[in-house]
Amino acid sequence: MRRARRLFGLAGLALAVGPADAGSVWVASQQGARASRIERPDGAPAAEVAVAPSPAVVAAGPGGRLYLSHPDGRAITVIAADGPTLQWPVPGQPFGLAADPGWRFLYVGDWSGNRVLRLSAETVAAAAEVAVGPDPAGLTLGANGRLYVAEREGRSVGVVDTARMVRIAGIPVGDGPFALAHDPVRDRVYVANVRSNDLTVIDAGALKPVATLPVGASPYGVAVSPDGRRVVVTNQHAGTVSIVDADTLTVAATVPVGRYPEGVAILEGLAYVANWFSDDVSVVDLAARTETGRIPVPEGPRTLVAAQTAPVSAEAGG
């Protein structure tokens, strides 16, 4: 606790001299039990927040808020923009997270409970739940209040109508779907299939798979650029990322990164890749298709999120 406060103090100081409202990337380190904020692609993390043990997934919420899931600890950490780090008990094995843009709800996948919980984004109280396919991994929200769930042991993506909290469809994908990302420009969902080593492209309007692209070994993370033109897939076991051209649906480049790349986030033409084994974040220039840097982070970085506003303000230093 004392250490957490000290880290908060550091965070406050760092942010006080940094660009307050520029975009940044947060990375969750599972073994290190830290959330780290990266502001510049060429520097060390600008801030570090100590959290409860073993955070797995980080998501951005309302007002610069951050959420982290702790599947081993039955909890969600909330890092508020203007307050302390809070920990909320959540039933089951919370893993995948998605915060709705209306800022009302946080969706949480319960890995071993085969369900998705809907929590109040304000109080993190469970308000509703829906049964989904086996081993829900990644979650992402799309258009029309639809939530897409990578059902890892179901070879499917579950589609939940969040207005009614009903699973309205199960879309067949590859083997071992783990991560997914929605592209609002083309209304597509891209799904990384860990065991079949490919990427399924789903037409979200038609709720149908439209293409399957081979990528590298163990695709484990996926992100779409804001303009929808590029999709970045981490190949965990190959130590590379595949850059996919969304127009032609072909792999435009395969770029070597660190060891066991997992989560990926895109900010301003750069992909940030969490290298779980090598304890750093690779920065990949998507136009040049090369790795331009490595940023050391606390042990076991697993997921990243690009956030547009500063979740920890200078006042948090008290």
Binding site: G92, D135, A217
Partner: protein
């Protein structure tokens, strides 16, 4: 396997997961060998040839050679069979990567793993690195002691360590250096 998980669920009523939700674990072991990298790779490189150097291995059934998608079924002397699929094999770089196909808690108390074995030059000799990632045998929130993170770490470290020691012994004692 399914029977094992079912009985665990009954015994511990802790919601065992079939795959892995919680915290992955690292394994990373290296050994130096007084032999050229090429000589080491000749022994350790063939995916189906693990029985020639790993002292814990009783029998190997391999299909697919060293091509991606090759499979080796490794039966251990103490019991249990590891079924492993080859992801990538790069002879020029003296490295290959593989992953577990189906868990066998009798062989290793882990529910999933992937690993990479690499041979690099080290002075006059060679260095072999065997590294990977795995999840404990019971990925539920209250794993029994024999399927915990600690049990998985101990077993994986022992298996990798025994293998590397066996490889070193074979290469350093043989007639060819």
């Amino acid at each position: 396997m399914r029977r094992v998980l079912t009985s665990l669920a009954i015994l511990f009523a802790a919601g065992t997961a079939l795959a892995h939700g919680p915290t992955p674990q690292k394994i990373d072991q290296t050994i130096t060998i007084r032999a050229t990298p090429d000589a080491v790779w000749k022994v350790v490189g063939p995916f189906g040839g693990i029985g020639a150097w790993h002292p814990d291995v009783a029998k190997v059934e391999a299909t697919g050679g060293d091509g991606a998608g090759a499979v080796r079924k490794v039966t251990l002397k103490r019991g249990g069979t590891l079924v492993e699929g080859l992801d990538e094999w790069k002879g020029a770089e003296r490295t290959y990567s593989y992953r577990m196909s189906d868990p066998d808690l009798d062989a290793l108390p882990v529910s999933s793993y992937s690993a990479t074995l690499t041979v690099t030059p080290d002075g006059e000799g060679a260095k072999v690195e065997w590294m990977g990632r795995f999840y404990r045998g019971d990925t539920g929130n209250e794993p029994p002691e024999n399927l915990s993170d600690a049990a998985g770490k101990e077993a994986m470290n022992r298996y990798f360590s025994e293998g590397l020691k066996g490889l070193k012994a074979k290469l350093e004692s043989g007639p060819q250096r």
